[in-house]
Symmetry: C2
Subunit: 305 residues, 2 copies
Amino acid sequence: MRILVTGADGFLGRGLVAALPNAYPDAERIVLTDRAFSATGSAAMEIVPGDLGDPDFIDRLVEPGFDLVFHLASIPGGLAESEQALGHRVNLIAPLGLANKVASQRPGATFVFASSIAVYGELGQKPVTVATGCRPLLTYGAHKLMTETLLSDMTRRGALSAVSLRFPGIVARPPTESGHGSAFMSKLFHAVRAGEAYDCPVPADSRCWWMSRAAAVRVLLHAAGRDHSWPSVIQPSVLHATIKDVADATSRVTGQASRVRFGSDLALQRIFGAMPALDAREATYLGFQADADLNMLATAALSGD
Amino acid sequence: MRILVTGADGFLGRGLVAALPNAYPDAERIVLTDRAFSATGSAAMEIVPGDLGDPDFIDRLVEPGFDLVFHLASIPGGLAESEQALGHRVNLIAPLGLANKVASQRPGATFVFASSIAVYGELGQKPVTVATGCRPLLTYGAHKLMTETLLSDMTRRGALSAVSLRFPGIVARPPTESGHGSAFMSKLFHAVRAGEAYDCPVPADSRCWWMSRAAAVRVLLHAAGRDHSWPSVIQPSVLHATIKDVADATSRVTGQASRVRFGSDLALQRIFGAMPALDAREATYLGFQADADLNMLATAALSGD
C-alpha cells in the first residue's frame, strides 16, 4: 500500500505520522508533504516539501499513485479569513486538484479529508447531526463544505472512495501555533498544567465540542478503513462540555490548581462556545469513538508536543 | 450600469437578452458572451464569444468591470456526467474564476447565478424548501452547489452581492437541444402543438416542477434587484403538476388533440417525475412569481423559439 499524508508537519499531521508505522506496518511507501518540515522523518518515510497551491507540485507529488491519502493540509480559519487569496489557493483549489490527480492515477483510491465543523455555521439549539443544514460563517468553512461536496460526488461515481471528517478544534495545539479562532481551547490546558494564570476570553459556562489529537488520529485511521456502505461525510462524536469543566478536569489530572479567569467575549462564545448537543450515532455505529471522558481528554491533550 | 450575460446564446440566455433593453433602458454597456453565437446581436449590445473555461478569457472579458452579471453558462447535466473534465472546467472552475474576477474589478457587484434544483438530489416526500438538505446525485448538481456555497460566502463578506436561483428544467427548450435529462418535459409541448404522436418516457402521473422561460426571465430580472436583506440562495416558486395535466393544458391552448403515449421509465421518473411539493413562500414573499397556471405555462412555453 502506498500512502500520502498532506499537512504532515502540522499538529494533527505529526500525530498521524507517529501512528502510521503501527497502523500500516506493511506499507510499501509512506510519503509526507507539507510546506516545510520542522523535524526530519524516519527512515521509513519519504519527505517531499512543497506547495499544494501549485498544480505542478501536485502533479509531481501524486505521479507515482497512492492507494490511501490523508489530506490534512489547510490554512486555519482565522488566517484564511484575512488572507483570502491564500485561503482560496490552499483550502479550495489545492484539495480539488489533489483529489482529481489522485483519482486519475489510482481510480477508487481511499481519500480521507480533514473537514471541519465550520461547515455548519450558526447552529441554533437543536442537536446537530451530519444532516444539519450548512451555512458557513467563515470562508474556511465554505471551502471545507465545497471540498466535501466534490469528494462526495467523486465517491458516488467511483472516482474515489472518500470520507470527509468534520473535526472540531483539536486540543491541545502547541502554544506557538496561531491563526485558529479556537486557540483559547488549547491554551487552557497548557496554562493549567503550568500553574499559570490565564485570562480565558469566553465565559465559564461556554459549552464547546472537544476532541484530543489522540482521538482525532484514531478517527483518521478508522476512516481509512471505509467501505462502500459508508456515507462520504462523517460527523465524529466529541465530548460536549463547558470550558470550566474542562479546566477543572485538567486541574485534577495535572494536580495543579486552576488559575483560569473567565471572560465575557460573547462574539467568540457565539462561534465556539455555544455548541448544542451533537447526535453522532451514525458515526458511533460505524465504530468512531470520542475521548472516553474529560479526564482522558485532558491527559491526551497534554501528551505529545 | 454595465451588464454582463454569460451563456447569452443559450435557451435561457436568449430569453434574457431579449428582455434586457426594456429592463435596463439606460444601461451604459451590455456585454454578451457564449462559446459561439447563432445570431448577431442588436447594435446596443456587444458580443464577445469565448471559452469561460479559459482563465485568460475571463480576465480579458471582465477587465472593464461590471455592476451586474448574469451567469447562465453551463454544460447540461447529462453531458457533464459523461464529460467530466469538460463539466469540471465549465461548471465549476469557470464560475469560481468569474466570480473572483468580477469581485476584484467591482467589489459588491450584483451576481445572479442560474443554479439548479439538481443541488438537492433525492427529495423524498416532504415539501422542499431552500433549507432542505442537499445531496446531489449528479456532478452537475454538485458543481452548482459548490458555486452557491462560494457565492454565499462572497456575499457574506461583501465581495459580491450574489443570488443563486435554483431553477427547475425550463420549458420548452428547442427540439434541437440535447444533453438535458429532462428533455422529455420540453418535447411534450412541441409534439402536442404539432399534433404529432409522442412516446413520453415517463408515466402519466409523473409529477414535475414546471417553469416557462418567460417566468424564468422574470425571476432573473427580479433577482438582479437584490438588496442586502435577501438570502443569497433563492428557491423560486414553480408549478407542481403531472405530465398528463401539462399535456392536456397544451392541448387546450393549442387546439390540438394530445397524442402523447406515456411510458414506464421509472429511473427517469425518479429523478424528474417524483417531485414533492415545493414550499417557496420565502421567494414569494420577496416578490418572485411562478407561471400563473398550466394554460399560461403552456402558452409561454410555446412562445419564442
